[in-house]
């Protein structure tokens, strides 16, 4: 995957017409009382605080506590409160695009789950933050449902023929997150240590957790060497 962080910082550039349009719509909406500047600020504050860390915490907790795991699998929306995620935030009725029906999909030795939204880009923002750009592309949406093993292989994930690849096409009001299996080599780890290896991609289902690989400390990107 490519992180194009320098794409848009090249000295003085033209004013972006999309930025112009967004500001125009926002200012008109506020002038007409469709929402307030305060609403926009509050929602932004909420959105910017969303990261995959909450999802990682949910998984780590479930790995350590069988009772919590049962709760998470039977009522994900309610169980999210254990890590401080209230699906009713920030409006009191949930977000308009994510709704309040959260389901956690458990990977087992025989079933591997992976999520997609072929119709748009439905994603559990309250627990995983904003979706990766590739997740929203027509390419991922076109291919994951029909050629899941090929797409997973492109992410470096090869699964044996006796493991059922179960694609979840999130097409209504449910939002899904994958609970990967706890890998070997993590015996005795704390909840915090465990959470560190439950990366965003493992909760989408395009990767598996690896005890040597955390989101903040991946294998050396320059040399490709594992620590």
């Amino acid at each position: 995957m490519t992180y194009t962080e320098h794409e848009h910082i090249e000295g003085p550039t033209e004013v972006s017409e999309f930025e112009v349009l967004e500001r125009a719509v926002r200012e008109l909406a506020i002038e007409h009382g469709l929402f307030s500047a305060e609403d926009h600020r509050r929602f932004t504050e909420w959105a910017e605080a969303r990261t995959p860390a909450k999802g990682s915490q949910l998984v780590a907790k479930a790995w350590l506590d069988p009772a919590f795991k049962q709760q998470l699998l039977s009522n994900g929306t309610e169980a999210s409160k254990a890590v401080g995620v209230d699906w009713l935030d920030p409006t009191g009725k949930g977000t308009p695009s994510d709704y309040t029906y959260f389901y956690v999909l458990e990977n087992t030795p025989k079933v591997h789950n992976v999520i997609v939204c072929t119709l748009c880009s439905c994603y559990p923002r309250p627990v995983l933050g904003m979706s990766p750009d590739w997740y929203r592309t027509p390419n991922y949406r076109r291919r994951l449902v029909r050629r899941p093993r090929e797409v997973l292989a492109e992410f470096g994930l090869h699964l044996p023929s006796d493991v059922e690849v179960r694609v979840h096409d999130s097409n209504q009001k449910s939002r899904f997150m994958v609970m990967p299996m706890r890998p070997e080599g993590t015996e005795g780890w704390s909840e915090e240590q465990l959470a560190s290896i439950v990366t965003r991609d493992t909760m989408i289902g395009v990767a598996l957790p690896n005890p040597e690989w955390t989101a903040t400390n991946p294998p050396n990107a320059k040399t490709g060497a594992r620590r």
Binding site: L119, P148, R149, S161, D162, V163, R166, N171
Partner: protein, 101 residues
Amino acid sequence: MTQRRFSVGDRVTVRDATSLFHTRTQRYARGRTGVVTEYRPEWVIPEDEAWGRDEDGRHEPFYVVRFRQTDLWPDYTGFDVDTLETECSERWLEPEMVGTK
């Protein structure tokens, strides 16, 4: 609370209806047969919500339907064990149609 028409374990076929402008029932699922694996709440149907009838739109039971991938795609390249799940409102489902697989 309306009476649900389908139960977990029922084999159901997705209706093969014509859609114009907007739908949340994927083309690849039309006419295909799968198994109900879970219930979902009674939600407003997208056919109403997409045109602004949300609170006062028609609400009905939704279901999770699981398909075998080999039943969905003309040339599925994975393995026979592979599956796909998606959700359907009741109006999109029929009891398994005879003659379909």
